[in-house]
């Protein structure tokens, strides 16, 4: 077991990347991701980390360099936020179809415009279908742990897919938290060396990124989809073994007083902790309220999710992005479609909140709960989502 240190989450993330003995880092600065890359370049400059730090001229090239380095078998890391993700978008999709196990931290930030550097989930929701494994974290410790987790899962031969670790910009990236570092021995036990399934090397020439005629494209996509779905056992195993090693037990869907509750909040990312405070408060008032946190976003944990909501009457889904002109926020849409065929499908009440760093307090969640209670009197239609906290 490692040492517990008070450290900024971004720096801890960079330290975790260092402990994972990464070979190549290619990244371009963007707030609020900057502290992570700055610290990594310091570690390289000081000789504490033996890696190539490639200061690319754009995020598009960052992801492209990552493809090249991962394809030759180098352990590869990048991180970005919002506009940076949008600029590399094209290559993000290709990295997954090439089955390159790149690890990316996405310091979640709203997408322009208006230009904003603050936190919400509009960036990650824009690439929902990119084919990467996608996980959400709630605090600095989870970020640190998930760097190790990400390299292990991504690079395991049965998976060979890239992973995005989402952490909320500023709310997490820029706060100092007590974080338990892993010791080297634990890292060694948990994270084997990267042995690529395919590798660009003259001794064994392979072609990567061939083009697909209509006669083969559908099959290629089906295979890719299956690869992502079949990554789940390895994901569960990696969390299980981490639990055994460091005593923190992660699950695809985590619950807080959800069992037996009538209403649950559904959260992703750092809002989870504040919602837990609101849940405690509401339970003190005698309300039947719990919470479900979605940690694994892709591949979607259908079984665990359906299990977690069994017997629940209402789910208050908190979305941090707008699907303009669509049926509510992107998370609520997914949840509705996941549960649509279920008997006794719970009512979904969808609040869109916390855009671009707008603070949402425990009191706000309590107010949302009360509003949801009132709405329960009438029929709630899909399009009846509420953008919460709009100043009139």
């Amino acid at each position: 077991m490692g040492e517990r240190v008070g450290i900024e989450v971004s720096l801890a993330a960079a330290e975790a990347v260092k402990m994972a003995n990464v070979d190549v880092i290619a990244a371009y600065p963007i707030t609020p991701q900057t502290h992570i890359v700055e610290h990594l370049s310091e570690l390289v400059a000081d000789g504490e980390l033996d890696a190539e730090f490639i200061p690319v001229e754009s995020e598009h090239s960052a992801m492209s360099v990552c493809c090249g380095s991962s394809a030759v078998g180098a352990r590869t890391f990048t991180c970005t936020s919002s506009q940076g993700l949008a600029l590399m978008n094209e290559i993000v999709f290709i990295a997954a179809s090439l089955r390159l196990p790149i690890v990316m931290i996405l310091a979640n930030r709203s997408m322009s415009g208006p230009l904003s550097i603050w936190n919400d989930h509009t960036d990650v929701m824009s690439i929902r279908d990119c084919g990467w494994i996608q996980v959400f974290t709630e605090n600095g410790q989870e970020v640190f742990d998930h760097v190790m987790f990400a390299f292990r899962v991504a690079e395991s031969a049965s998976v060979s897919l890239p992973i995005i670790i989402n952490l909320d910009g500023f709310v997490l990236t820029h706060v100092i938290e007590p974080i338990e570092f892993w010791d080297d021995e634990t890292v060694k036990k948990y994270l084997p060396d990267f042995k690529p399934v395919n590798q660009l090397h003259p001794d064994n020439p392979v072609t990567m990124g061939a083009f697909g005629l209509p006669s083969i494209f559908t099959e290629a996509k089906k295979a890719q989809n299956e690869a992502l779905i079949q990554a789940k056992p390895e994901i569960l195993k990696a969390w299980k073994e981490m639990g055994d090693l460091v005593g923190r037990h992660y699950q695809p869907v985590e619950t807080y007083h959800a069992e037996g509750s009538e209403t649950v909040f559904l959260t992703m990312g750092s809002f989870g902790e504040t919602v837990s405070v609101a849940v405690d408060e509401l339970r003190n008032q005698g309300k039947s309220v719990g919470q479900i946190k979605l940690r694994l976003w892709r591949p979607f944990p259908f079984d665990e999710f359906r299990e977690a909501v069994r017997g629940i009457k209402r789910i208050i889904v908190l979305d941090r992005a707008v699907s303009f002109g669509g049926p509510g926020g992107p998370v609520a849409s997914e949840i509705r479609s996941v549960l649509y065929q279920e008997e006794n499908m719970p009512t979904i009440t969808n609040f869109l909140c916390g855009f671009a760093g707008r603070d949402v307090t425990a009191q706000d969640y309590i107010a949302m709960y009360e509003q949801a209670e009132q709405m329960a009197q009438g029929r709630v239609r899909q399009e009846d989502y509420i953008i919460y906290g709009v100043r009139e």
Binding site: V24, D50, A51, S61, S64, S70, A71, T207, M208, A210
Partner: protein
């Protein structure tokens, strides 16, 4: 050329690394250039290709014409992918995870991939100083998508997006000088070449590979389909591009320019323009202004080689 005599062709390896059976058009001199570059580099190479004709004709899943490790990611990022492959290998060698084989890293793309959409990625890779070779196969338009103009399309050429119309005579801008842009990056080696001069091309690519740091070879690659030319005329027209001074063959090494194929007396550009359908509409006045421009540019280059 001085290292080769008339029998030199026999010195070129018979081995093919860009193998027969690809789907390029008949008479495609771009495919010929790719084949010569692959021969020059041999098997100790990793290739990153941009989207374009050469990628499409050589990699229809589940087939490949590449007998060397080859990756295609997207249209505008071959230089970035090549630099990532180079950096990744460098790190693995330094950390003792791979033996040092002295592998060459090659980025390749068409004129569109290089002079337009991929210019930023290429500039970034040059500036960072990766040890790699980049070859631009310049067929003077976006051929893969149906002969649209690029910034490398010459003045006056009719393409599907710079058509010769009633008002405009085809492309109205002058060809971007990509080799000069490469030289402005202060990289150690830059050369122009053409598959009509295969031995010169091979020699330059070998030199580019042997040099530490970034090297750039800009290859004029005749496309009979896009240039509206009989397929058997591809090699011949490439020679005319050089003999008229439209596309001079030279190299730039450590700050020095050198003509690698000296043309004592340039032929008139009309000899080059006339056989090509893409220039069919040009008036004598336009041909005259092209002639003036070619002479002027050629003289400027000659002056540099005299320094």
């Amino acid at each position: 050329m001085e290292q080769f005599n008339v029998y030199a062709a026999r010195l070129v390896t018979k081995k093919e690394y860009f193998t027969p059976g690809h789907r390029a058009c008949q008479g495609c001199a771009e495919a010929l250039a790719v084949r010569m570059v692959a021969k020059a580099l041999g098997k100790n190479v990793v290739v990153a290709s941009a989207t374009g004709c050469m990628e499409i004709v050589s990699s229809p899943l589940p087939f490949t014409n590449w007998a060397v490790p080859w990756i295609h990611v997207a249209f505008e990022n071959a230089a970035a992918v090549a630099s990532g492959a180079e950096a990744g290998t460098k790190a693995l060698v330094r950390k003792g995870k791979l033996p040092d084989k002295g592998t060459v890293f090659l980025g390749m793309g068409g004129d569109g991939a290089t002079t337009d959409i991929g210019l930023q990625a290429l500039s970034g890779a040059w500036e960072r100083g990766h040890d790699f070779v980049y070859v631009c196969y310049d067929n003077e338009a976006y051929m893969n998508t149906g002969i649209q103009r690029s910034s490398s399309t010459p003045f006056g050429a009719s393409t599907t997006t710079s058509p010769a119309g009633k008002v405009t005579p085809g492309q109205v801008t002058w060809k971007k000088n990509m080799a000069a842009i490469a030289i402005a990056h202060n990289i150690p080696y830059v050369a122009t070449a053409c598959s009509s001069y295969p031995l010169d091309l091979i020699q330059k690519v070998k030199k580019a590979a042997s040099i530490k740091g970034p090297a750039y070879v800009h290859v004029l690659s005749v496309c009979p389909t896009g240039w509206r030319l009989p397929t058997e005329k591809a090699i011949w027209i490439g020679r005319l591009a050089v003999e008229t001074g439209v596309f001079p063959l030279y190299e730039y090494e450590n700050g020095k320019y050198r003509m690698t194929y000296d043309v004592p007396e340039l032929r008139p550009v009309i000899d080059y323009l006339k056989p090509q359908g893409r220039f069919r509409h040009l008036t004598p006045e336009l041909i005259q202004s092209i002639q003036e421009r070619v002479t002027e540019e050629y003289n400027k280059l000659k002056a540099k080689t005299a320094l």
